[in-house]
């Protein structure tokens, strides 16, 4: 599912959502080939994935062209499957599956979501037009080697805090941001918590009480050792 143009909809409703298709067309006409992917979920939302260079340009067009004056939110998604699993069933499955050395499962391939995407980190933002009611979710891929992208602060003033949070949680640098400092974490915090490879320590300290099982019969005698009741 790499950066194909995925407009397939769930098999149930195949009717086309013209209003949202029109939004995609306007983006294509405005930004040309900078629009690398789009996805429409009929009756729900429209995703447009733009190239990293055209990120601020897309925002400016959304605000002026589509009258999306309302800045909703901006964040990022780390598509790497978590090596720690859920810290719950992963232990149980692994023990049930027999390998008890507790080593985290090897990471599987990166599979991006709506509107495709081929890098690990993907920026995500949503803007909305109160007058016309159109909303568009913009996405942009950020390559692992150069984790930086244009900042939206010159276009939407509200992006200031959201970008500080995304920089702090994912490590994506925003070029042109007035003051990239920590917003939630204390000053000397190392690491980026929302990355999938950042361990959730709360679950490492305490053994999971759900791991226990009914002990087999005392003395192990009797027919069939510890079959499930």
């Amino acid at each position: 599912m790499s950066s194909a143009d995925t407009t397939e909809a769930p098999a149930g409703e195949l009717e086309r959502d013209d209003a949202r298709e029109a939004v995609v067309e306007r983006f294509r006409s405005e930004l040309g080939d900078a629009v690398v992917g789009a996805h429409v979920r009929p009756g729900h939302a429209v995703w447009v994935r733009v190239d990293r260079g055209a990120w601020r340009e897309a925002a400016r067009f959304a605000r002026d062209g589509l009258h999306c004056a309302f800045f909703d939110f901006l964040s990022a998604i780390d598509w790497l499957p978590s090596p720690f699993g859920r810290d719950m069933d992963s232990q149980e499955d692994r023990i049930a599956a027999g390998d008890t050395d507790g080593s985290p499962a090897e990471p599987t391939a990166i599979v991006a979501g709506a509107a495709g995407g081929d890098t690990r980190f993907q920026l995500l933002a949503r803007v909305y037009a109160p007058t016309t009611g159109t909303a568009v979710i913009l996405k942009a891929d950020v390559p692992d080697d150069d984790l930086s992208i244009d900042s939206w602060v010159p276009v939407y003033a509200g992006a200031n805090w959201h970008e500080r949070e995304t920089w702090e949680m994912f490590g994506i640098d925003f070029v042109g941001h007035p003051g990239l400092t920590h917003i939630y974490l204390p000053g000397q915090f190392e690491g980026h918590p929302l990355r999938k490879d950042f361990p959730l320590l709360a679950r490492r300290v305490k053994p999971w009480p759900g791991i226990v099982d009914v002990e087999p019969m005392p003395g192990g005698a009797g027919e069939g050792e510890g079959g499930e009741e």
């Binding site: 999971w208 009480p209 226990v212 009914v214 087999p216 510890g226 009741e229």
Partner: protein, 166 residues
């Protein structure tokens, strides 16, 4: 000077409230002397009906706070019919709920397939030492008497009120 009524109406409201409190009593309940009755569905404390519990560990696994600790072992129960094979059943050794961690979300009560866990609106079980908040299965059994019957439903609902095993 801005028009006066706004200021005077404000005084009227507080004076009226004072008269109302003096005539037909305050809204507040004088707690240690009179106690307010919580709603029958209030989630005060969890009660365990031990006979129904088959130690299937579902509640311990589903609890988001990891605060239910269960230990059980298998034993051979006498066969139902005299000629039959002895059956293997689970016996509950330990069933503790740590109410200092519990956030009263009710997932364990809901997920229990054998109707062993119930909610009781009892709320007066605070302790001096936090360790005493770890209720063992006898204490949870005692809460069973305080579990009220399920209320009948509003008209138009298709739910049937469940029975509480006494």
């Amino acid at each position: 000077m801005p028009k006066v009524p706004g200021l005077i109406k404000g005084l009227g409201v507080t004076f009226g409230e004072m008269v109302k409190t003096l005539t037909d009593g305050p809204v507040t309940v004088q707690y240690p002397h009179e106690k307010e009755e919580p709603a029958p569905r209030a989630r005060g404390v969890i009660a365990l009906h031990e006979e129904n519990c088959t130690a299937c560990m579902l509640c311990a696994r589903e609890c988001p706070d990891w605060c239910i600790y269960i230990e059980a072992h298998k034993y051979l129960a006498p066969p139902r019919r005299e000629g039959g094979k002895p059956r293997q059943k689970n016996a509950l050794d330990r069933f503790d709920i740590d109410f200092s961690l519990c956030m009263f979300c009710g997932i364990c009560v809901e997920v229990c397939p054998f109707e062993a866990l119930f909610w009781s609106p009892e709320y007066e079980f605070s302790e001096l030492k936090i360790a005493d908040l770890l209720h063992d299965k006898e204490r949870l059994g005692q809460w069973m008497q305080t579990v009220p019957d399920f209320e009948p439903y509003e008209s138009g609902s298709e739910q049937k009120p469940k029975k509480v095993p006494r």
